[in-house]
């Protein structure tokens, strides 16, 4: 007997087939893990299940009969509740109002019965380990408590299916315990749960079944207990490996004896990073491996001064940055290429020239006035060197292809004359040709003596591009692959935690 079932569902967006004939079955009382890397199609599948998207093809069956949810409300009324990664409640409204919004108890006059609403809210939340004044604005509660309110609301509306999208990503360990207690209780009441997470320990603790998505397809579905961790990871990251599929030379470029250009020690950031340490020598490419949410981007951002650190030291060329701030990091010679090129990197409405010159303007100006000639010099030099294809330096960056946008961003970083280059997904979303160019550029830069840190979800790119790979899991360094160990097999074993 299935509670919720989708058959051969497909969904296409311009340029991407987000879901390709995906089938998925949720049974009553089952906690079903839905896993996959970025872009695998998890979010799209969730959105199809909850009525946010309409599938192009395929069927949805809910409680034994065909169903079609036109809006998220339809799905909610039918008993499918979703808890999103970011708490989706109204922070300025009270806890009680958030719980009852749209379903407020009313008195004989049709007016909201505040007293009753607050009393019921208090009783309900006590069951979730939250004891607080329910008249407080929700936004003043701790994140974990807010998550519990969201969960309480989801279950309260007679939910038969609860979908949780990375519910633990912002929770403290003890809050995770409470959440699991609630999940076990839902499980016992026959509610079906779809659980999206990248934390393997959690999956194996709480989930019964698993469905693995990759590139919009189901690559595996079955009981989780029958699937080893390493098999799970390789199915997620998978894809047939072909030697030399990337443009990396493969030759190690690092000088093992040189003092490190970048030295990272004991980075801690709440529950996201725990004691992360590693070195990067001049000419070395150090890869950061791990699943989504393992702390790779956070590490890079923290080194660049753009992520809150509780403690930890970053040294460039032996000089301690003390607490890194973005300004100090740039001055010390750290250049960070952020993961989200569009939001955190390029400024699309500005020209190629302006985008490249942005970070070096202070150096190219005297008494606050910018020397046009010197800017042109720098811009021309990098446009030639990185083979940026633009009609002219004055073309708006937003009109360029993804690959050329990425090169503009790299040009900006290189123009500052960095000692360490931190790259977060440098080839994501760019075409094959540009990808190869960016990859050989990374090699070239390393050969010139730059220390490079590389984050990539593309296992091939990570393995073939890196001289060494530091593997992270849940914000902890769980292993370092060096020399002959830099292989996909070792990487997956390290990620799965089955490697000594």
């Amino acid at each position: 007997m299935s509670l919720l079932h989708v058959t051969e569902v497909s969904k296409t967006f311009p340029g991407v087939r987000a879901l390709d004939r995906v089938s998925f079955t949720l049974r009553p009382g089952e906690v079903h893990a839905l896993v996959g890397e970025n872009g695998a199609g998890k979010s799209t599948l969730i959105k199809v299940l909850t009525g946010v998207y309409q599938p192009d093809e395929g069927e949805l069956t809910y409680q034994g009969s065909p169903a079609r949810f036109g809006t998220p409300m339809d799905a909610q009324h039918a008993g499918i509740s979703t808890i999103y990664q970011e708490v989706n409640l109204v922070p300025l409204m009270s806890v009680a109002q958030n719980l009852f919004l749209g379903r407020e108890p009313r008195n004989a006059l049709g007016l909201v019965d505040r007293k009753r609403m607050e009393r019921e809210a208090r009783e309900l939340l006590a069951g979730y380990g939250v004891t607080t004044d329910v008249r407080r604005p929700l936004g003043t509660l701790a994140l974990g408590a807010q998550q519990m309110v969201a969960l309480a609301r989801a279950v309260m509306i007679e939910a038969k299916v609860v979908i949780m999208d990375e519910p633990t990503s912002s929770l403290e360990p003890r809050e995770v315990r409470t959440l699991f207690g609630v999940i076990r209780d839902l499980h016992a009441r026959g509610i079906g749960i779809v659980y999206v997470s990248h934390r393997l320990d959690e999956l194996y603790e709480i989930c019964d079944a698993v469905t693995i998505l990759r590139d919009g397809r189901v690559v595996h579905t079955g009981q989780l207990a029958e699937l080893s961790r390493i098999r799970l990871v390789s199915l997620m990251l998978g894809r047939e490996m072909t030697e030399g599929a990337t443009a990396f030379s493969g030759a190690a470029t690092g000088d093992g004896d040189a003092p490190p250009v970048l030295r990272v020690r004991g980075l801690n950031s709440r529950h996201k990073l725990h004691d992360v340490s590693f070195d990067v020598r001049p000419g070395e490419v150090v890869g950061l491996g791990g699943l989504l949410g393992a702390g790779r981007s956070e590490t890079i951002k923290a080194i660049g001064g753009a992520y809150h650190l509780d403690s930890g030291d970053v040294e460039v060329d032996g000089k301690d940055l003390r607490k890194p701030t973005t300004v100090r990091a740039v001055k010390a010679g750290i250049a960070v290429q952020p993961e989200d090129r569009k939001a955190e990197g390029i400024i699309p409405t500005l020209s190629v020239r302006e985008n490249i010159a942005l970070a070096v303007l202070p150096r190219l100006s005297r008494l606050g006035l910018v020397s046009d000639a010197r800017v042109d010099e720098v811009v021309t030099a990098y446009m030639t060197r990185l083979r940026i294809k633009a009609a002219s330096p004055d073309q708006a960056v937003g009109d360029l292809s993804g690959g050329n946008q990425q090169k503009v961003l790299l040009a900006r970083l290189l123009a500052t004359g960095p000692k360490a280059l931190l790259l977060d997904e440098p080839t994501r979303g760019i075409d094959v040709g540009a990808k190869a160019e960016v990859q050989s550029l990374i090699d070239e830069l390393a050969a010139e003596g730059l220390g490079v840190v590389l984050v990539s979800s593309d296992a091939e790119e990570l393995i073939e591009g890196s001289d060494r790979v530091v593997v992270l899991r849940d914000g902890v360094v769980v292993g370092t692959l060096t020399g002959a160990e830099v292989t996909t097999e070792d990487l997956m074993a390290a990620i799965a935690g089955e490697r000594s």
């Binding site: 922070p91 909201v112 069951g127 604005p137």
Partner: protein, 334 residues
């Protein structure tokens, strides 16, 4: 339901944070009222002319139309929007009411309600369904409604007199020595308070302004709520215009410029966040009265240029916004 292994999540850090939060919340909500009380007390002692029942009644009568406009504006601003068209709708409503008064008092209210309500519907539909910025949509309505008013009044040169006796009485008569319009406005304000604080629609208004995405996911009819607040705002501006016409005895075409800004000022002074999601009508009432009292005091002093009223109101507004920003931050830290 019971969860055996659930440890209490929020226990120890709560007490202090809760207390700060209460204080901050109270200042945010009641700040305008406190200042109003202080200003009134000082005025009672300092200005003999202020100290009369008649003067109080005058302040209330003068504050009646702005109060209605600010009432609608409170709803709009809590949803995170803004309605710049109300000043124009107010004048248009006055002219329409005066013209329609030849057909009786009911027509004198029905016509401005219908026209201003329709413009409110148009504002709301454009804002809710095309996702255009409220600022632009209602600015267009401001210009359009002003043009319409000038067109029907021959460039503002033709003045329609109020011909209906009942409407004249509404404008000039009083109950317990307080003008009828004050009672009418008080009733509407009370109704507005109930709607905002005690109905599902009111909860939707707060939810839409607090987080539109979250509200949509929680099943709040976001677009319908948005349309309604602009309709409400338009209707109230129309009524305000009609009341003013009743008081003045004609549809005056030169008033109302900048009324929308005074209303926004009063709402913000009353503690409503311009970013939406929080605010009360009680605060707006205090804000409107505060601006009214300041105006009245300037008039009392006599030899002071009345434009100083705007200087003082402006300074006051700046002060309130700074305080609001600080309080909101204080609240978020906890």
């Amino acid at each position: 339901m019971t969860v055996s292994e659930a440890p209490a999540i929020v226990v120890e850090d709560v007490r202090k944070a809760e207390r700060t939060d209460h204080v901050v919340g109270a200042v945010q909500r009641q700040g305008a009222l406190a200042v109003l009380v202080i200003v009134v007390l000082i005025s009672l002692m300092a200005f003999p002319g202020f100290r009369s029942f008649d003067n109080a009644a005058t302040i209330l009568v003068a504050a009646a139309p702005p109060m209605l406009i600010a009432l609608g504006m409170t709803f709009v601003i809590i949803t995170g929007g803004i309605d710049l068209s109300v000043g124009s709708l107010y004048v248009l409503g006055g002219v329409l009411a005066a013209w329609a008064s030849q057909y009786g008092i009911l027509a004198a209210f029905a016509l401005p309600l219908a026209v201003c309500g329709a413009i409110g519907v148009a504002n709301g539909l454009l804002i809710a369904y095309t996702r255009m910025a409220p600022f632009i949509v209602t600015l267009a309505a401001l210009l359009g409604a002003r043009g319409l008013m000038r067109a029907i009044s021959a460039e503002g040169s033709e003045t329609y007199l109020v011909r209906d006796g009942a409407l004249r009485r509404l404008g000039n008569g009083s109950l317990f020595d307080i003008g009828y319009q004050v009672w009418l406005v008080a009733a509407l304000v009370a109704l507005g308070m109930i709607v905002l604080a005690r109905t599902r629609f009111g909860a939707s208004v707060y939810a839409v302004g607090g987080s539109e995405d979250a509200a949509a996911l929680m099943g709040v009819p976001v677009r319908r709520t948005k349309v309604w607040v602009y309709v409400l705002s338009g209707l109230l501006a129309g009524v305000a215009g009609a009341i003013n016409a009743a008081k003045l005895g004609s549809g005056v075409t030169v008033l109302g410029t900048g009324m929308e800004l005074d209303a926004i000022a009063a709402v913000v002074i009353g503690g409503t966040l311009l970013t939406g999601g929080a605010g009360t009508i009680a605060g707006t009432v205090a804000g409107v009265l505060l601006l009214g009292v300041i105006q009245n005091l300037i008039n009392q002093v006599g030899n002071v240029n009345s434009n100083w009223q705007q200087v003082i109101s402006g300074a006051f507004l700046a002060l309130v916004v700074v305080a609001q920003t600080y309080l909101v931050r204080l609240r978020r830290v906890n």
